[in-house]
Symmetry: C3
């Protein structure tokens, strides 16, 4: 069971690292930049979670295999960019799978470190979305998760199922599967039907500028 | 006394979260993006301080009330944007009050963890300005605190009073009140009279570009 | 020996802080912004390393001398910008020396905290490049280390020598000198001959946009 979780975690890291490498190639970074964005996209979510719960050194730093699959994803994308781009539907589906896995695993780890339920669910979500946020900040884009379709919400829903199951003392394997399935399903429907969250009504008014730094 | 401090801390978090939500609505982020910027602006300063002094998990993660007031500020701003914008003078004043409180509380926490005096004052300042910096980086703006009027300096002055008082073994309640009052007063005067720090003379010269990455 | 290392470390911090201050003046930040970028460029690499290996509070926070040399570099640059710009060749050389020192010292500290060899080498590299990355993100530029000439690779090579030497149980002083020399030499040649890493072939295709947030 433990080995299975590790394998799934590494697969999630690999697909997330692909998204980082694709961004880096599009922005014409050099080989090193591609590898950095691969590692950042694949591991920043888990590293931030581990720093916040006090689990140092973070798993992605202590275990070389996370680095290994990130570098592998970066090198493949660097030399086979066109091929990876052509695979975009499979890549999107495995990205949704990676998100589901990171969200439930992140929530479980936070619970294991004694975080309160609401924060454990949020740290599960953060595990899923943190990598993409750092990837975007490094190429000076507003993180797309802050304005795109149902991505963070899917991760939060999956993590919440795990936390609720733990509160109700349901069997962890079952709640993990249900949580991951819910996250994957929501994300799949959001991609297919372009579901998204509302945006506030806002009429630009130049005379009203916030002067708070 | 402890309850009072917590209440003041939560009020500070709330007003800072408002500034994050206002920025998010102006940049047309979706509801999730508004909530993320609310939480980031309200809590990133304190979280960074806690990570640096080794107090994990940070208070804003361990105590769900910080999340609660941040989400509340985000939702109010999302659905009542125009109202919050119209309140800009009261918002600026409570922001100055939040800054004063965060600066003195941050300095005290750093002292309690055994930091040296200069660093305790700086961590107090960081507690006050860190949230606004992350908020701006997430929407790819240069943090306004790096070039705006007397904001960081007011926080630093307030934190320094607390640290000096501790060095001279003055009663903590008195130095806390004086420090917070000094910070608030400086910030208030800076808003009213547009006080600001000097900018270096710089004549752009394209032939001289730094090649250091 | 310990005193020598500290002195070298502070010199490295000083030259890195100069690069942060130069960037801040060019972007017309105010005096406070110049000091923040000085401190960030000089210390963010080491602070990140210390957070990741669990060495809190980080050395740059616990020891006021790191703050002192950073502020000194910032103030000198603020008031003598033209002079510092004119010194660009010496500044580049001392920057290369700072990089070499940070890389080998960072790798040694990571080894001392029990990190695995591959990660110790990478944390050495991160110690060298982290400051410049935060400096660039704060002024909303894509970190130049992600697309510039041989900078990170030089740091990685120097750090790898230290790690290899430790695996082979060679005398630490010798491997430190060789590692630092290799990093400095590579960086020097990269500046002189504009060596750089390859960039992936990429033909922009607007129809293929990643929708992963």
């Amino acid at each position: 069971m433990h080995t299975l979780l590790l394998v799934l975690d590494l697969i999630g890291t690999f697909v997330f690292a692909l998204s980082g490498a694709l961004t880096a190639v599009r922005r014409q970074l050099d080989l090193f930049g591609v590898l950095v964005l691969s590692f950042a996209a694949g591991n920043a979510g888990g590293i931030t979670r581990d720093l916040l719960i006090g689990a140092t050194p973070p798993a992605a730093i202590a275990d070389w295999r996370y680095l290994g699959v990130s570098v592998l994803a970066g090198i493949i994308t660097f030399y086979r960019y066109a091929t990876i781009e052509r695979l975009r539907n499979p890549v999107q589906l495995s990205d949704a799978a990676g998100l589901a896995l990171f969200a439930v695993a992140g929530a479980q780890k936070a619970l294991a470190f004694g975080l309160n339920p609401a924060m454990a669910a949020l740290l599960g979500m953060l595990t899923g979305i943190g990598g993409g946020m750092l990837r975007d900040v490094l190429v000076t884009e507003i993180p797309t998760v802050l304005r795109a379709d149902l991505y963070a919400v899917a991760a939060l829903a999956g993590a919440a199922v795990v936390v609720l199951g733990s509160l109700l003392q349901l069997p962890p394997t079952a709640t993990t599967l249900v949580g991951a399935g819910l996250c994957f399903g929501l994300r799949y429907m959001a991609i297919r039907h372009r579901w998204h969250l509302p945006v506030a009504r806002y009429i630009a008014d130049e005379s009203q500028q916030d002067t708070r730094p």
